[in-house]
């Protein structure tokens, strides 16, 4: 409801640009990864290697959808539709590249991947699956060269 924002103080028309700078949000992100991992680890018939691979995959898929697939904002920002065709990654920090937030979000999946390769004891199939998902879902969409690029027009509108 745009009416929710009228009358309020905002020099930035889209709160999606700045909320990731708030206190404690990085820690919350890491906490969510831990929670997911503990849930997966609690399932009795899954081996350690499979648990780590599952965590890595679930994390990459969910962050792909959250950051690189859903476009626009869940509320109506005051920017007259400029952000309707932008994914969340492109909206963060108003499109400025190499900010602290973007570096953090790039490093976390890499760290998870490294931990996963360790805990899967470098098994070939696990490595292949995790590496593919890391590169295709987590690293490539975050590159500045792919800012606002839509391959084959997928997800353009």
């Amino acid at each position: 409801l745009a009416a929710m924002q009228v009358g309020t103080a905002h020099s930035d028309p889209n709160p999606n640009h700045v909320y990731f700078n708030s206190r404690g949000i990085w820690a919350t992100y890491v906490i969510f990864i831990f929670i997911t991992h503990f849930i997966v680890l609690s399932i009795p018939f899954i081996s350690m290697a499979l648990a780590w691979t599952l965590t890595c995959q679930i994390h990459n898929v969910i962050t792909y959808f959250w950051l690189h697939w859903e476009k626009g904002a869940p509320f109506e920002p005051l920017d007259q539709g400029e952000s309707r065709t932008l994914t969340h990654w492109e909206q963060l920090d108003d499109g400025v590249q190499f900010t602290a937030n973007k570096k953090f979000l790039l490093v976390v999946p890499i760290v998870i991947f490294l931990l996963t390769t360790f805990y899967t004891r470098y098994d070939q199939i696990h490595f292949l699956v995790n590496a593919l998902s890391l590169v295709l879902l987590a690293i490539v969409p975050k590159l500045p060269q792919l800012y606002r690029v839509r391959i084959f027009g997928i997800n353009k509108w």
Partner: protein, 558 residues
């Protein structure tokens, strides 16, 4: 005491922030799940959808944009837009509504709730159905009708407008003033008349959307500085002067610093003396939006300029509105003769929009005259100002002592109390209403994600008993909802602010008033300025010169 010691913004506790984020993520997850169920037919779908024949077109609107409204706001929307059935004075009566289907629709059982009103911008208590203002407005309606139907520059100028402009200029301490029918338009449509391309606007981070829109409409270069950060303003000023315009490096034609007197979401006060010193040093201009501070701050109610004791001629553009403290509508811009003459010729609102309707103008003129002591019972203006000041400080001090986090400056009549978690937003709104307190709660995206708050707007219409009762209700509700997050002791200035102090301050004002028809030295009966459904009390003295003057002028014009 400097401004910095009298205001505080305690940061969100770390654990609370994390729990708030987890709350929002849970709401988002459930929202997505429910959307999935609705879109695939497992749940009744009550949202608007596109007709089947346009399914393959580019979507007309994004379902995602209404995600928040549908899944968060709709469920708790009984906390906003509550219908009332009396005048919104110190107390009001709400029409009860119940939602059988979680916010999709409302049922009206026909009952009413009487509640204390902390949601209206009624700083001086002029929202009332009787009194000299109401009489003047009624008389003006009978003479001039309800609207004007023409812009000021064509056929829409009434002598009431000229009188109001003179009154405003005198009140604010400027040479001349010009009025507009809409406060938002005063900002948005006059900034383009003052500055254009080739100029620079330095705007505070938390400026109201009317100022943001006005700045964007001018076509000037906009630089945003951190809220109330004078060092940042100076740095950006120096950059603007040294580096000039973007590509050509030509000097800016004008640099305008745009700030508000009191920021209504934070309750903070601008650093006016430092800004005036800066603007004189660097030869910039200052635009001060006193929407929430005119009438509400300062010993004589003349705004932040009065509060800091600055010279009104130092501020180039003094803007304000009549909506908050004067019970009317519209806005004004006051300044030098030259500025106002220019605006009369060039203002977009003055040339194309209709002018201020006569009853509103009459209401506002009478309100100003009451504040200057020329209308109404003697000393009424001073009494209202004092009551607001006492109410504000007493309320804020009591809340600080409770242990909730209160933002803002000691004398700002807007009091934000922090809630933080999304679930508690609705809980606070509903629990306080159950106990008879009506307040406004705000959450994301109107505020930053970890700073949702309840906002209390103090009024001169509130009596000390009402404030005591509200503090008690807030104490109950915040204990129930575990909202007492403050880890700091109450600030130093709250030490002497008690009920006795408040009553002593109010008695001072009473004693300074001339006895009104009573024997010498007799106590003056203090009439509560409250809105009731009872027959009107005659607050105005018919022999009052100014009221007679007004009515005579209105009669003569007919």
């Amino acid at each position: 005491m400097s401004v910095k010691h009298e205001e505080q913004f305690e940061p969100t506790p770390y654990v609370v922030a994390i729990i708030t984020y987890i709350g929002y993520v849970m709401l988002a997850v459930f929202g997505h799940m429910r959307d999935f169920l609705r879109n695939h037919g497992f749940e009744k779908n009550l949202i608007a959808t596109e007709p089947a024949r346009t399914k393959d077109f580019v979507p007309l609107y994004q379902n995602f944009e209404s995600f928040y409204t549908r899944n968060l706001y709709r469920r708790i929307r009984d906390c906003w837009n509550r219908p009332i059935r009396t005048c919104p004075g110190a107390e009001f009566e709400l029409i009860d509504r119940k939602s059988p289907d979680h916010g999709w629709s409302f049922e009206y059982p026909g009952t009413h709730t009487r509640a204390i009103n902390f949601g209206s911008y009624n700083y001086l208590g002029f929202a009332e159905t009787d009194g000299p203002c109401a009489d003047a407005a009624a008389a003006a309606t009978e003479t001039f009708g309800c609207g004007v139907g023409s812009p000021r520059a064509e056929a829409g100028n009434l002598d009431l407008h000229t009188r109001l402009e003179a009154t405003v200029a005198e009140f604010v301490g400027a040479e001349d003033a010009i009025i507009f029918p809409m406060g938002f338009a005063t900002n948005a449509l006059n900034m383009p008349a003052l500055i254009g391309k080739g100029c620079c606007v330095l705007s505070d981070e938390l400026n109201h959307s009317s100022l943001v829109l006005g700045a964007r409409l001018t076509g000037a270069k906009i630089k945003v500085f951190r809220h109330n950060d004078i060092a940042d303003v100076e740095a950006k000023l120096r950059d603007a002067i040294v580096y000039g315009q973007d590509r050509t490096r030509r000097p800016f034609k004008k640099i305008l610093i745009v700030v508000e007197g009191v920021y209504s979401m934070e309750g903070s006060v601008t650093r006016l003396p430092e800004l005036i010193a800066l603007k004189k040093k660097y030869k910039a201009y200052l635009y001060l939006d006193e929407a929430h501070s005119i009438g509400a701050m300062g010993p004589h109610g003349r705004g932040v300029v009065d509060y800091f004791g600055c010279d009104p001629r130092d501020v180039d553009v003094l803007m304000g509105t009549f909506t908050k403290s004067f019970g009317g509508a519209g806005g004004y811009i006051a300044g030098s003769q030259h500025l106002v003459a220019l605006l009369r010729q060039r203002s977009h609102s003055g040339l194309y929009g209709a002018s201020l309707p006569a009853p509103v103008a009459a209401q506002v003129v009478t309100a100003f005259q009451m504040l200057m002591g020329r209308a109404g019972p003697p000393g009424e203006g001073a009494r209202r100002l004092k009551q607001l000041e006492v109410n504000t400080q007493y309320f804020r001090a009591s809340l600080h002592r409770l242990g909730v986090i209160v933002y803002g400056h000691r004398t700002s009549p807007v009091v934000p109390v922090m809630i933080f978690m999304p679930g508690k937003i609705a809980a606070f709104g509903r629990e306080t209403l159950k106990r008879g307190l009506g307040t406004v709660v705000v959450g994301y995206p109107a505020t930053p994600i970890i700073e949702s708050r309840a906002r209390f707007c103090l009024s001169a219409a509130h009596s000390l008993d009402i404030i005591d009762r509200s503090v008690q209700i807030i104490d109950e509700v915040t204990s129930l909802l575990l909202m007492k997050y403050s880890r700091r002791p109450p600030p130093a200035w709250t030490a002497g602010i008690t009920r006795e102090w408040a009553e002593a301050q109010l008695k001072l004002v009473d004693q300074q008033r001339r006895p009104h028809g009573a024997a010498n030295g007799g106590p003056v009966p203090r009439r509560p300025v409250e809105c009731r459904g009872d027959p009107p009390d005659k607050v105005a003295d018919e022999n009052d010169a100014a009221v007679k003057d007004n009515l005579a002028a209105v009669a003569a014009a007919s």
